[in-house]
Amino acid sequence: MADFQTSTHRAKWIFTPQELVEKYKAANQRAIQTLEKYGTTQMEVDADGSLSYPEPIARDNADKHSRAKPLNIEEEQFMRVFYENKLREVCSAFYFPNKIQATALIYFKRFYLQWSVMEHHPKHIMLTCVYAACKIEENHVSAEELGKGISQDHQMILNYEMIVYQSLEFDLIVYAPYRSVEGFVNDMEEFCGAKDEQNQILKDLQETARIEVDKIMLTDAPHLFPPGQLALAALRCANEMHRVLDFERYLRSILTRQNSEHTISQLIESLNAIDTWVRKYKFPTEKDMKHINRKLKSCWGHSSHDDKKREKKRHKSNKSSNEIPNGPSIG
């Protein structure tokens, strides 16, 4: 793996909690403004992957749309959480390696730092992120195959692909904490001078830590902390269960060996903060989701009639793009 220290991940995608709040706020505000202006928030994606803002609403509809209620920041969060879990389900259904699941999840999270869920449906983005992660990790799956496997329109994935890359600012190499966990466990073997019977305990520790990382990855912590710290937080939790080593002593030894600028108290503070994120994690109830989905529908100005129209229009544009295999070149 390329070096995390000089990576775009470290330079551009680790934020302070304030910055993160600002980003969510900004995306939410923008969508709300769009709703006020146009009566709908959803961006149109054409078959060529380009985006357009909604057409201003016609007068006779204005009344109906003015009743549309935008999602608040917490509801947006719920929506993301719901689809992050869906993303995992999709990856498991395809038996994708863990690495792909982790990469897709980070892509999804980063995408919604730039956009509101009211602007791009998380279902489409989730699938596109899985598709993109497969491409990047060289586990190529065609969009068609992916779409078929979960009965979704694969053209949607292709339409969104470029927008996803663009929203990720083409920073596509991401660092998940799973490898860091492995690295630290190897290091712990030496640290403990592990004998055979201890090796099994370390394996159990690693397995528990992996499950902890899974939990951490569904929170906002990956936007706030480097993967190494996320891994250590997971390992500390796992260690409380397995009691393999004196964790604070281990942390001190890492800091000394790495000549780190961090003090032990700073590091522990970070790990505590990560734990808090995991404790605070809330999964929406069915009732929450029903409510949110209803709101979203109103934001998108969907009626069954509109849906049909949209469907028709999309298929039409697909057809035209197929007729000219390479597209009408630059225009």
């Binding site: 060529d48 491409k135 920073d171 295999p325 630059i330 225009g331």
Partner: protein
Amino acid sequence: MGDGNNTSGRGIAANNTTSSSNSEKPEWLQQYNLLGKIGEGTYGLVFLARIKSQTNRGKCIAIKKFKQSKDGDGVSPTAIREIMLLREITHENVVKLVNVHINHADMSLYLAFDYAEYDLYEIIRHHRDKVNHAINQYTVKSLLWQLLNGLNYLHSNWIIHRDLKPSNILVMGDGDEQGVVKIADFGLARIYQAPLKPLSENGVVVTIWYRAPELLLGAKHYTSAVDMWAVGCIFAELLTLKPLFQGAEAKSTPNPFQLDQLDKIFKILGHPTLEKWPTLGNLPHWQSDSQHIQGHKYDNAGLHSVVHLSLKSHAFDLLSKMLEYDPRKRITAAQALEHEYFRIEPLPGRNALVPSQPGEKIVNYPTRPVDQNTDFEGTTSIQQSQPVSSGNAVAGNMGGAHAGRNGSVNRPMPAPMQRMPQGMMAYNFPAQAGVAGGMNPGGIPMQRNIAAQAHQQQQLRRKDPGMNMPGYPPQQKSRRL
């Protein structure tokens, strides 16, 4: 990255409105003057363009246009992979990605790079076919050192290039980076951890001449040692002007066994043995021995005579360590940079094209041919018609170009030079006295730049319309860059 306002995904709508009209250039393209096509390959086309904007006005950019991948396959994986790697790396000896442009109409990607006027393929070809003499030692050593320096950076960032060959090693033309090597074309590059598939599965054809023996024998896993083998082949080619192992490629099946290529290698390096290369027995093609390569008998190694080097020379020692059969014993880029060859005269320098000896002839390499007849997908009218080679000499750009040059005179040595062995400066002093008139008022670094200026003046003169290089074909068959 991306077009300024497009970066975060905002402003795409605006972009879309321009792309709705086929007759107009897309917005992003309007910031360039398109000069013509300079290359073509399996991945797509490369165009040369000049920046219009005030900052960097007149600066040349190479725009690599990727073909759309198979229908229904979305954005080109090669393009995406190249971008993703280049986003993470910055090094003086690695090509610089300046921008990524998107054409929504056909979902193709355009990568804008700093333009490099030369590449090793052209430099070698020019010496072989036009000037009929070897590349001078200083240039060979400087090119090799910088290539290794860039490669060491890549390898220490866990990136294997996998497709090093002379045409992928670029050299900068006029300007403050004159004679600096840039490793290019990362379409096949891999991060170690990523699952590495056989090349055939990527559906990519790469030159077999620079392919390491372990790959030819069917090794499934790439290591950075494959790049070092390629460097060895390139080193030999710089010395002799001929590809070292010029095997005929077998093309029958998707990933055929390249018997002739191995035969060419064994003929020069001798038969590999389990003694010298213990893991040889595990390699599929050696094991199966379907074409009886195990039984072939080859004469003794004759590498030194092929490359005309004394067995005792440092150059030969380094070359033979790069062409070590066992990838685990093969010299690494970091070790090669420390090799004695780079500590003896002539010492390597930053501007590889300026010879260190005062009497040495300066070779004017041909500038890259520009095909002005190929337009940008049939939608763009090419406005500039003067040859690119007039580069900095275009009126109105003179001021800027000269300021840049003067500014570079006292520039501190760049990082790679600091890695250079001690003593180089002392050596260059007398060497350039001839050029600079024996004065050395401002410290050593200036010396080479004075020489550089002299060189540049020559080049400018050469580029004068009246003094065009005679006999050099203005157009040539496009090839993979």
